[in-house]
């Protein structure tokens, strides 16, 4: 079955979300949002989803702090973070490039990352652009660190990193990424060339499975309709809905 690169990413993320009780999705996250909704559709009612800034896909009604309270209450099993820069220790930078505060490149800011990255058990880092610009040896500004010393309260943290080239899992004890699979059409050499940090890999690295046809059908049908609520442009462009 033919598929788009976005559909591969959605299905890859969906496999990482299996078994999650409740998944929260931040702003500007159509691919993670689609994966969360697909997970819910496959979960037989076991998985709930909150998509921020959507009219129908969230039930927040206690102000801008409620999502963070929910995370702190342990009610959120998975969340997505990204970064203008992500480094090999899973530190993320949402603030900018250069010497803070008067930086050469300034992004929006850290949003909820400096809390959610600590408290949500399964944080999935997602950044489609996989280059030495985004995957760096050391971030210029730590919006939220990938690991913390043992005395720091941290039930959550990075679980995996999904990019346009491949899938990595994060080893908290070693504080290093391990390459799990390479997306179809790409190679280890390409990933090594485009990654600014060192990472672990072993032997023959699997190819990321292509989207399961039944999941693709779900995605292009009911999920496309749901994701059009917060992301109408994305739904129109990818799913022609």
């Amino acid at each position: 079955m033919e598929y788009l690169p976005e559909e591969l990413l959605i299905c890859t993320i969906t496999r990482l979300l299996e078994g999650t009780g409740h998944i929260a999705v931040g702003v500007s996250s159509p691919i993670p949002g689609s994966a969360a909704l697909l997970t819910r559709a496959l979960s037989n009612g076991k998985t709930g989803v909150t998509v921020l800034n959507s009219a129908n896909l969230q039930t927040l009604n206690d102000g801008a702090g409620e999502l963070f309270d929910r995370a702190a209450q342990g009610r959120i099993g998975a969340f997505f973070l990204s970064g203008g820069q992500i480094d090999g220790q899973a530190n993320i930078n949402l603030v900018g490039v250069g010497q803070y505060p008067q930086q050469d490149v300034r992004w929006s800011g850290s949003f909820g990352s400096a809390m959610l990255y600590y408290l949500v058990p399964r944080v999935i880092l997602f950044r489609e652009e996989h280059t030495r610009r985004t995957m760096v040896d050391q971030v210029d500004f730590i919006s939220a660190p990938g690991t913390s010393p043992p005395e720091v309260y941290r039930p959550g943290g990075p679980y995996a990193l999904v990019t346009g080239l491949g899938l990595f899992h994060f080893d908290k004890l070693r504080a290093r990424f391990r390459l799990t699979s390479i997306h179809p059409g790409h190679s280890l050499e390409e990933i090594l060339d485009n990654t600014g940090f060192g990472f672990d890999y072993e032997g023959e690295i699997p190819i990321t499975p292509t989207p399961e046809p039944d999941r693709l059908s779900l995605l292009r049908g009911p999920i496309a309709a749901e994701i059009a609520d917060p992301y109408p442009k994305f739904a129109a462009a990818i799913f022609k809905s």
């Binding site: 801008a64 603030v95 809390m115 600590y118």
Partner: protein, 270 residues
């Protein structure tokens, strides 16, 4: 107190004030922001609860902002906030970067009249490193070592926002945008623009009362039809994407922003 127009409202915001503003979907007082720019406000300390977009960018572009305290400034789907980014690069504003729950907890500390609230997270981040006002202490409730961040109370001089409905007694109905309640509780002065003013008593309406800010927290109200436009006001109007895109495009340069501002709907018509 019901004011006659937005210039009266803007006149109540002194230069140098610390102003709390809501996120882009919760009732942003854009029309009042035009009035504030028209009165040539200077030296403002903007506290986004917890993020901002067009409103902060407009105030920064107009040279009204000295300090920007927030967890993010973004035009969302329209991309970067041009005037904010330019001001950061130029060193024209002082940044107090934070994370969403820290701003909300700081506001809640003021609401509760306590000097600080604790929060999990932040430790090991460069946010914390750049915020000497945030303190790390050892959790006294724990048996072993357990560092935790204490956030100082954020008490705004002014809370400024837009809401769907007020009554003549000064009660303001906010719907689900509960952060506006916290802002009004925490702020010294609360200034509100509204779509409509009803003759009834919102606090006497069992369906409206639970989501109404009682008049005792409200300093002044001004009517502003479409007062959040081109941003959305939940349940009243959607965002105007074309107008937001036009703003985003204009705000890429100082000249573009100046031209946009000159073309903006006049205060009198607001």
């Amino acid at each position: 107190m019901i004011l006659n127009d937005l210039s009266e409202l803007a006149a109540r915001i002194p230069d140098g004030a610390k102003i709390a503003i809501p996120p882009s979907r919760s009732g942003v007082a854009i029309a009042a922001t035009h009035a504030l720019i028209a009165r040539n406000a200077r030296g403002l300390h903007i506290v986004a609860i917890p993020t901002s977009g067009m409103q902060a960018d407009m105030l920064i572009g107009a040279g009204a902002v000295q300090v920007m305290e927030s967890a993010g400034v973004t035009l969302d789907e329209q991309g970067q906030a041009g005037r904010f980014v330019a001001a950061v690069k130029a060193g024209a504003i002082r940044l107090m970067d934070s994370t969403c729950p820290a701003l909300i907890s700081g506001l809640q500390a003021a609401e509760k009249g306590v000097p600080f609230l604790p929060m999990r997270g932040l430790i090991g981040s460069d946010l914390l490193k750049n915020r000497p006002d945030y303190k790390v202490v050892d959790n006294p409730m724990a048996d072993g070592p357990d560092p935790i961040v204490l956030l100082p109370a954020i008490q705004p001089d002014i809370a400024l926002f837009h809401a769907p409905l007020a009554d003549r007694r000064g009660n303001v109905w906010i719907g689900k945008a509960r952060e506006l309640m916290t802002m009004a509780h925490a702020a010294h002065t609360t200034l509100v623009t509204v779509e409509e003013i009803t003759e009834g008593d919102l606090m006497a309406d069992p369906l409206r009362a639970p989501a109404t800010i009682p008049a005792m927290y409200i300093t002044a109200i001004a009517r502003a039809r479409g007062g959040a436009m081109p941003l959305a006001l939940e349940g009243v109007y959607e965002a105007d994407s074309a107008a937001l895109a036009a703003y985003a495009n204009a705000a890429r340069t100082a000249e573009g922003f100046a031209a946009w501002l000159a073309d903006a709907p006049g205060i009198a018509a607001a």
